[in-house]
Symmetry: none
Subunit: 194 residues, 4 copies
DNA sequence: GTGTAATCGAGACGGTACGTCTCGTCTTCTG
DNA sequence: CAGAAGACGAGACGTACCGTCTCGATTACAC
């Protein structure tokens, strides 16, 4: 059934583009990662980039994800609270790197005017992290560590939302113990305890 | 004390620019609110715009803030929980308007590459809302409704962060009862209650 | 030897720009030949124009020269005096066309604030004409028609200078027989003949 | 009848404008003599300038003429040839000053797109000089120094044209002895003398 | 091996927004 | 009420980046 014809796609070019995009994005932010610069640094032509990616946002997202590929923390053998703190802490650590923070802000920014990119960000950046946390929360409920009637999605947004909020708007810091404080406060609630 | 000299700034022009910027932003998103379009619709020259605003982002933010000037909900005569739900609910209602949501996303997007605009967004959009909530929280503590040891900033980010998170990334809806659920969940905590 | 790389320059675009620039310049003078108008009429983007020409002046000069490409009169088989009159006459005829006169005035005007354009005008408009006249004068001396001690450059300026002077300042007409009168008067001198 | 009413025109302002215009023009060329700069340096408002002059060209011309007011050489007690050389020499000397040359080029340039300015240049700059030379030439004919059948206008253009030609196009120098060589060559003609 | 077909580097192109500049007009307050 | 101050509309300038296109030069696989 139809063996492929013609010159196959150059793996080398693909990798070079992703590295160039990631480098430029991390070094100079989104503005520095314009297509011509990516192509130039990758030793690749713009046409090649646009052949395999629909637009700049897609390239930059791929380059970014390649750079942070190993950042998806899978907590193992930890109790519920520790697991939550661990995973959130990993994200805080990531966001604290100004280069990565800036890159992610840039990508989120680009996604505002590109629904397809927005979808990709959700599916390839957010979803995996949320899946892990969903598992932790479900297990936590099963283990009796968490209330059985909690709203998983909302919990995640109350744990991660503050991070992204501060990242995007810069109105507050991302201190080292932020993960602990987030989990702790949500865990015990802020209502008066009698 | 130096009376003013020269022709005073045209209030009419200022208002026309803000209205044009706001209209275009709400109608067509950030992309539609380019400077020439704003100038054209306002019956004003580009030079006048650039005389009073440093760049497009600043104009658009001003236009937007003018449009939502009355959206700052001041809860009066409400108990702590109701006050929180009220104010967050107002923001949810605002964000649910796709035109306003899109506008705010656009502005946040623009702010990623313009630190001055980012600062303005913090000071003129976020800060007033946070001030109100800060007051509510402080009063709530004093009234014994809330734990005295809560982290005010963090509480606000756990209440508002999810909204902005969902607004910016679109991974979850903004249902009508979101304010209630946010407050409720944070109030009582998600830990198992014995 | 060194095959060309990349997409070759579009000859069509180049020609369209020159024609548009020439047309606009001749139809409406320098003011009408602004870059956006040239780009629009040529069906070309501004970026393409600025890729190949450093500024408006350069485009307009090229467009003009293209229009008058065939105006360089080479006198053949004429005796010295007739040859001079012929070549000068050609220029007079050109200058008498108000569209061409206006165009050339515009270009000279632009060149006052653009040394590079001034150089181009000298090299591409003046020099070729002066080369022809230099040859005529040199031959005229050799043939014994002209004084052997004449200053070639000065002769040319006394023949052509009046034309450009009247063109630029408009203080005198450019009658049909101007070439003849210029040559005649310079030939015989204005001193009293004993 | 009817003594004038209101505040009379400030002579001081008029002079300050002319001096500022002249200074700027001579210091930085036409580009530096923009209206705001003139007004600023003169301590005068733009409106005042536009009240008394129709446009920038007119101001600049006036400023320039004020600066060179005393440059109109009236040869007295000289024989025809010496008188011609004297007056042309004065102009050569003027043109050799790069600041004045640049200023005059700028004005001529501006005049290409402003017929009214062109007229003013003719009447107030060229005409007086031509009047003097006309007188010299007429006297020269009467004295028997010059051919009685010469074309006065053409003679002037063959004497002055080369100066303006070289000034405007920069294709040749303006050496010290240019006046002498111009007069000499035109006087004796370039035809072979038998 | 030779043909065929898709890929590649290079880079020109149309489109479109940006922010800057100067001109000449106007509006207000001050002396 | 003339004039300084300076805001304003108009509109051209040159720059930047996007995504598309057109070349000629490379590869691989198929025959």
């Amino acid at each position: 059934m139809g063996g492929q014809r013609g010159r196959p796609r150059s793996e080398q070019a693909r990798v070079a583009v992703l590295e160039a995009a990631g480098d430029l994005l991390l070094e100079g932010g989104l503005a520095a990662a314009h297509v011509e610069a990516i192509a130039g640094r990758a030793g690749v032509s713009k046409a090649t980039i646009y052949k395999w990616w629909p637009n700049r946002g897609a390239v930059v997202l791929d380059g970014f994800l390649e750079r942070v590929r190993h950042s998806l923390a899978i907590p193992e053998g930890l109790r519920t609270v520790a697991a939550l703190e661990f995973q959130i802490g990993e994200l805080v650590a990531l966001f604290r790197d100004p280069r990565i923070g800036s890159a992610l802000r840039g990508i989120a920014s680009e996604a505002q005017s590109d629904p397809e990119l927005a979808r990709a960000v959700r599916e390839r950046w957010l979803a995996p992290r949320r899946a892990v946390t969903t598992a932790v929360l479900t297990a936590g409920v099963a283990a009796g560590d968490l209330r059985p009637d909690l709203d998983v999605e909302l919990v995640m947004d109350q744990l991660y939302g503050p991070l992204y909020f501060r990242l995007m708007f810069g109105h507050g810091p991302l201190p080292d113990d932020l993960a602990h404080r987030l989990v702790n406060q949500l865990l015990h609630g802020i209502g008066h305890q009698d």
